[in-house]
Symmetry: C2
Subunit: 400 residues, 2 copies
């Protein structure tokens, strides 16, 4: 099976058909991740009627070199071509210095961003908090009383959702075919329905989750469902669907050029934690706004204090007790954004299968990259790309 045969004939060849059973598996994912709406129900996240301009100042970066996972030196061009990258946009001081697409992706095509969706949700939270619509310190049950009895009803606040410090019994193992993630995915409609499993939906499923005994706020524990609960809190606070809230408060004001979209389940519940599809250019705009202290398209879209808080106020002890120290030994996670080292160095939004927004404020650099990496988690590739992003920023700032 080569990607050449996938969804190219009418009808597609039997072994080239992308379905709910294979859409996240390579090479079907190359088509699947940029055609999610053809597989699942989705809600539109409307663009701006006056997009933020993105000017080009293209610069030759392909010869930038860094170490690949085997310790060999590769240049940026080769790294892109061998790491299952589908598209990349690099901004320096807000201008496009590099842009590249493959595997059928185009500047106009929304690509699934998986957990980069979480950082979108965390950013939206700051906007709603600044407007007095959302209180991050309130218990979840203030917004969703029926969470009583679940892990989210037991002293859990919106802040715990934002920072992934809920003491929840949930194993975020993407590879387990029978584990929590599979049950969760079923509830979101992302799996081929299995007649032997009673149908459920996301909001019902979220209410079944239970504590693991850890006090809330103590330990960084990466669990996707926390972000879906967060989106549900927003819906209750705003009286509007998540897709509409996101469009009205963030996506349109930011100056997005393209409609984005998000998958919805059988009851209209958005997969807030991982279901957004957006163009790479709009992801770059989003990153640039974060670099630019929340300003985009001439407007203060995200409050400065929220971004400062993301960069400074993560709980370092909770991180050290947590489950991603193998990725960033001294990292942090605040309001759904990663800081890679303590203090105020680059920060990032990261999704499985190789989705990244990397923001280096000191280096005036933003990288938005989407991929169809075969493995959900591929630490070797993540570490290669961290080296790559640093090398790009160094070149752009005349330091290589």
């Amino acid at each position: 099976m080569t990607s050449r045969h996938i969804m190219t004939a009418f009808p597609p060849a039997a072994d080239g058909l992308v379905t709910l059973a294979n859409w996240r598996k390579h090479p079907f994912s190359e088509w699947g991740f940029r055609n999610v709406r053809e597989l699942l129900p989705t809600a539109s996240i409307a663009r701006s009627r006056e997009p933020a301009p993105l000017t080009s100042a293209l610069t030759w970066l392909e010869d930038i070199s860094f170490a690949n996972p085997r310790g060999e030196t590769v240049d940026l061009g080769e790294a892109l071509r061998t790491s299952h990258t589908d598209g990349i946009v690099v901004l320096h001081r807000g201008k496009i210095v590099s842009e590249w697409y493959t595997h059928g992706l185009t500047p106009d095509a929304p690509h699934l961003i998986f957990s980069v969706s979480k950082s979108v949700a965390g950013t939206l939270g700051g906007i709603l908090a600044d407007r007095g619509i959302l209180d991050p310190d309130s218990p979840v049950t203030r917004y969703i009383p029926e969470m009583k009895g679940s892990v989210y009803g037991d002293g859990c606040t919106v802040r715990h959702l934002l920072d992934m410090s809920v003491g929840i019994q949930f194993d975020e193992d993407y590879m387990d075919p029978h584990g929590d993630v599979m049950n969760y995915r079923r509830a979101t409609g992302w799996e081929q329905p299995d007649p032997s499993v009673p149908p459920t939906h996301l909001r019902q499923y979220l209410r079944t989750l239970r504590p693991d005994g850890t006090p809330h706020g103590h330990t960084f524990h990466y669990v996707s469902t926390n972000t879906d609960v967060l989106g549900w809190v927003y819906e209750r606070a705003c009286g509007m669907s998540y897709a509409k809230i996101l469009s009205q408060h963030l996506w349109a004001p930011m100056g997005a050029e393209h409609d984005a979209y998000i998958t919805v389940d059988s009851q209209g519940a958005a997969r807030v934690a991982g279901g957004i599809c957006a163009t790479v250019r709009d992801l770059a705009r989003f990153g640039e706004m974060m670099r630019n202290h929340g300003v985009s398209n001439g407007k203060q879209v995200v409050p400065v204090w929220w971004i400062d808080d993301i960069r400074r106020n993560g709980n370092a002890d909770a991180w050290l007790r947590g489950d991603l120290t193998k990725v960033f030994a001294n990292g942090n996670y605040r309001s759904k954004w990663y800081t890679i080292e303590h203090g105020e160095p680059p920060f990032a939004a990261i999704g499985i299968h190789g989705q990244w927004i990397y923001i280096d404020p000191a280096g005036d650099t933003v990288v938005a990259r989407v991929s169809s990496q075969p493995l959900p988690m591929d630490l070797d590739l993540d570490m290669m790309w961290l080296r790559g992003y640093r090398a790009i920023a160094a070149r752009l700032n005349g330091k290589d």
Copy 2:
């Protein structure tokens, strides 16, 4: 159940939930027809990057009066409010003279247009024919050899598909819960899956259809599947999905302001005959292009000869032998467009549940109207609106 409760809470109330089981039933359809993508997989039909300008010259038309189905005189405002209309745009000499929305529809929201989709397909056929990509006189099997053995393999040409004169055994009864239409809808993914019925898909289903003994070309016989076969022919002729063909050759060149979309089945087959969702303004642009001899946004998008052929060359005898004389006694159907009388009077695109594009070239008038009428076919309302459209054109031309 009032429409006020439908899909307004998070989660929706049990009796306010729109699903595949109720989305075409009133009042759920008011939400369903403008949120199809939240229920079904869909493919994007990309807009123009430089939309055709639509200027406003709003005129008071609400007092225009005509007879309602009970023979009482109603004014336009009352007719709109009592006929389940969701939105309307009236153009006179290309300018918006009237625009109105209700039931949650907005100028930016795509609404399902049902069989108006067929007229879009028929128009696209002219563009492809003019470019030498499609030969309307070729047998269907030139493009889809595997149609051999079905009704579409037996002397059936593309022209027979375009004019609904295939001698096919198919009863287009929208109300029969066990008839051909139900089997067809299942194949397109529009029905809640029934575990007792083996799953199928559209292109497979189309190959199962059989002749009824009538020679092709003899009788106007309105059968939706003919248009789905037509779309499949285009896909084979262009080597591209229907949504992409439509965007590239018609929707973008025409200057559409909004992305439209179309539902797709489990194999990516578009429901060409009835699955397009578009904004009312873009439907008005489409109608205006037809009125304007195929010119839109400063370009000849549809060949003049194709539009002239639509208006002049329908087979009047086939119509008289056909199944819609109860709607238009002396109508005609050519390349998926209705002419309401023989000759060159107004022509129209019509879809069930009250979707219309009415084009009156002599009166320089175009009306695009979308609705959620409870009945698929409602002849009383259709006749009222024909009177309404005529009264509107008369007023705009100073003849009332």
